[in-house]
């Protein structure tokens, strides 16, 4: 009856003499076998596709990036023009650049979905804390890499983004000014800044690769989680990674590439800002300095901290509002590190957590609103509009909405997550991944609301 009986080769497959010779010196073959036989829970749903997609995008970004670096000149007088030469005279240069520019945004899209999947299914809980922490480190490295990459074309937004972000460090008391001078390599954003950003933009992706290796090594030590959040116990609960998840990942990858290709070929500048096609000009500040969409929520949190913001009052005697905003912005990410302790619930999957599930989605909406806030001018009254279909005024400024959503962001992590974990009565968990199938449990799409163990997700 077991679904996976006979799948995959047994350990210690006989090999040829040469293979054995190599294997004794470098375990390539057993490593390959490990990856193909890696026992994976059989109930993973499509949300589990995004890890492998992220790995693919990372490689694609490195390949396109290396080719771009062959044609790019990191100098304030030549950077913008060299990018235009790539677009116009390098064979398929436009394709490589648009793949890379849109690939950055795609990378964040995929990684954010991957991260929210982890939040929903409790992927940060024991024994997977280190996987989670490594994932956050990857995200932080990605942000640094993306930010520095955005500076390289040396357009108006490149320059002013570099200026705004590096200026944040000047808010640090006592040493702020020295740190910014050190970061710039001078007294303003200039050629030394561009040069070091190029150098680091080339370096950091390889650091990311290193951390990804650790991320996967940790994953393969404790094995993958799954939508039910109960650990795989018997061989009946798992299937070998290959061919089951390789083929499923390929399908997911195909869908992902369709989305990516759509942007590259039909809307290559949709996610960019028109001002970045104006060469950098240190004397002309753009009307609105807006980061790329994947930074907008953090930008909103940063700008929410004004002297009038109630979250700032308790600390107003200690630090400036600007510095509080900087701390909050970085804190909004660093707080994720604490999730293994903040979440007091014993249950991993939100599927069995009726209250937390609701607040999870409220939190998702909160971050999306934060993104909107980051894209708009703080003093303007917020209109909610959709492509001319409807348009109504909220009567609140974007700043006020930003303050409310910033508050909620931290309230969610610091108060709601621990409190709900204690108060909530989770639904009964299935005894194992296979149990409902073998026990003839309910089949279908309903939520696991019955007293019987929930039905398996049809992955």
């Amino acid at each position: 009856m077991s679904a996976n009986a006979g799948h995959g080769a047994p350990q210690g497959t006989p090999r040829g003499r040469t293979a054995n010779w190599i294997e004794r010196r470098l375990p390539v073959f057993s490593t390959m076998e490990h990856f193909s036989q890696y026992p994976t829970p059989k109930n993973l749903n499509y949300w589990w596709n995004f890890g492998s997609i992220a790995g693919f995008v990372l490689v694609a970004m490195i390949v396109t990036g290396i080719v771009l670096a062959m044609h790019y000149t990191p100098h304030v007088d030549h950077a913008f023009n060299s990018v235009e030469r790539i677009m116009r005279d390098v064979n398929y240069g436009w394709l490589i650049r648009y793949l890379h520019a849109n690939g950055g945004a795609m990378f964040f899209l995929v990684v954010y979905i991957h991260l929210f999947r982890g939040l929903y299914y409790g992927s940060y809980k024991a024994p997977r804390e280190i996987i989670w922490w490594l994932g956050i480190i990857i995200l932080l490295l990605m942000m640094a890499t993306a930010f520095m990459g955005y500076v390289l074309p040396w357009g108006q937004m490149s320059f002013w983004a570099a200026k705004v972000i590096t200026n944040l460090f000047s808010a640090i008391p006592w040493v702020g000014e020295s740190i910014t001078t050190w970061l710039w390599g001078g007294f303003t954003v200039d050629n030394p800044t561009l040069n070091r950003f190029f150098s680091l933009h080339y370096l950091l992706p390889f650091v990311i690769v290193g951390v990804v290796v650790l991320h996967i090594a940790a994953l393969h030590t404790v094995k993958s989680g799954n939508p039910l959040g109960v650990e795989a116990k018997t061989p009946k609960d798992t299937i070998p990674f290959h061919p089951y998840y390789t083929v499923k990942d390929l399908f997911g990858l195909g869908v992902f590439m369709l989305v990516w290709a759509f942007f590259v070929f039909y809307a290559p500048n949709f996610m960019g800002h028109p001002d970045n096609y104006i060469p950098a000009d240190s004397l002309a500040t753009p009307a609105h300095i807006v980061p790329e969409w994947y930074f907008l929520p953090y930008y909103a949190i940063l700008r929410a901290f004004t002297a009038d913001f109630f979250m700032y009052w308790p600390i107003s005697w200690l630090i400036t509002a600007k510095f509080a905003g900087v701390i909050a912005m970085f804190g909004s990410l660093l707080i994720l590190f604490l999730m293994p302790w903040l979440d007091t619930s014993e249950v991993r999957s939100s599927r069995f957590r009726p209250i937390y599930k609701i607040f999870f989605w409220v939190f998702v909406i909160d971050t999306i609103i934060l993104g909107y806030v980051g894209a708009n001018a703080p003093d303007e009254v917020a209109h909610i509009a959709l492509l001319g279909l409807f348009d109504f005024s909220t009567g609140l400024t974007w700043l006020t909405i930003g303050e409310i959503t910033t508050f909620w962001y931290f309230f969610h992590f610091i108060i709601l997550v621990p409190v709900i974990g204690r108060m909530e009565r989770p639904r009964p968990l299935p005894h194992s991944i296979s149990e409902p199938v073998l026990g003839g449990g309910a089949v279908g799409g309903g939520a696991a609301a019955q007293s019987r163990p929930g039905p398996m997700e049809k992955a």
Binding site: K42, V247, G374, E457
Partner: protein, 273 residues
């Protein structure tokens, strides 16, 4: 069912993520004046440039815009690829000299060659600024990409000039007083803040000779549209290649993904989960 819901949710998350960028990227002309909407031949998934229109647009650029605006990322050889004949470039190539150092080490000038960038109207930015009230006119190579609203905005700007009297009546400055263009300034409906240093470049019908067979009448609107189409090409010369390749790539990926799906179902057929 769960699968369908998962895909749906993934879609919602993705769309919501992108929608976050809308407020900034949809913002077109200044002060919320919506740009006129033109049915450009190069819009849409199968869009291409209208060769005849681009040629007329080049004439408008060469005769009108080029006296103040450079086009430095476009080379004369690029013009050949869109079907502009060398004779249409000749006047500019010979009248505008390229600086060079001769064998004796002296700074001299020479006529432009096909391998040169479109020769700039001014020797440098300082000279350009000096001749234009202290601010160099922007290079037009990327102007269509560098303005929210793109081609629609450029066309609207070129046809959006209003008289000083209309300006005072219609628009107010940041101080709440009626806007009044000073000498050397003009008023434009679509320019952010409405006061623009560029005098109306296209002012009268027939300003540029449209002597080709079958050419439309050289109205201000027609000339503005033609030069905008030319500038759209100048900003995105790869556009036709991109959309053509895009179609092939999308079809290929669609089939490939379909095959992956079939194989996926086939492989998973016996797994009870």
């Amino acid at each position: 069912m769960m699968r369908v819901r998962s895909i749906f949710l993934a879609g919602v998350v993705a769309v919501a993520g992108f929608a976050g960028t809308l407020p900034s990227s949809v913002m077109a002309a200044g002060d919320g004046v919506k740009a006129k909407s033109v049915d450009w031949s190069f819009y849409g998934p199968f869009g291409t440039f209208d060769r005849a229109q681009i040629k007329r647009g080049w004439k408008v650029y060469a005769k009108v815009c080029a006296s103040c605006h450079g086009l430095k990322h476009v080379y004369y050889r690029h013009l050949l690829t869109i079907g502009i004949e060398p004779k249409a470039m000749k006047e500019m190539m010979t009248s505008r000299k390229m600086p060079m150092i001769d064998d004796a080490g002296d700074a001299v000038t020479r006529a432009a060659k096909l391998g040169d960038p479109i020769t700039a109207p001014f020797a440098n930015d300082v000279a350009a600024a000096k001749a234009n009230n202290g601010k160099a006119p922007p290079d037009l190579s990327l102007i269509v990409k560098a303005r929210g609203g793109g081609a629609n905005y450029i066309y609207s700007l070129l046809t959006g000039y209003v008289t000083a009297a209309a300006c005072e009546k219609e628009y107010k400055g940041s101080d709440g007083k009626p806007l009044k263009p000073e000498s050397g300034q003009s008023c434009n409906t679509y320019f952010p803040g409405h006061i623009i240093a560029m005098a109306p470049p296209l002012a009268s019908e027939g300003q540029v000779d449209y002597d080709e067979k079958g050419a439309p009448k050289a109205t201000v609107s027609q000339m503005a549209m033609d030069v905008t189409a030319f500038l759209a090409w100048a900003a995105e010369p790869e556009l036709e290649d991109r959309k053509r390749m895009g179609l092939r790539v999308m079809l290929f990926l669609l089939i490939l993904t379909g095959l992956f799906f079939v194989i996926y179902r086939q492989v998973w057929r016996r797994v009870k989960h």
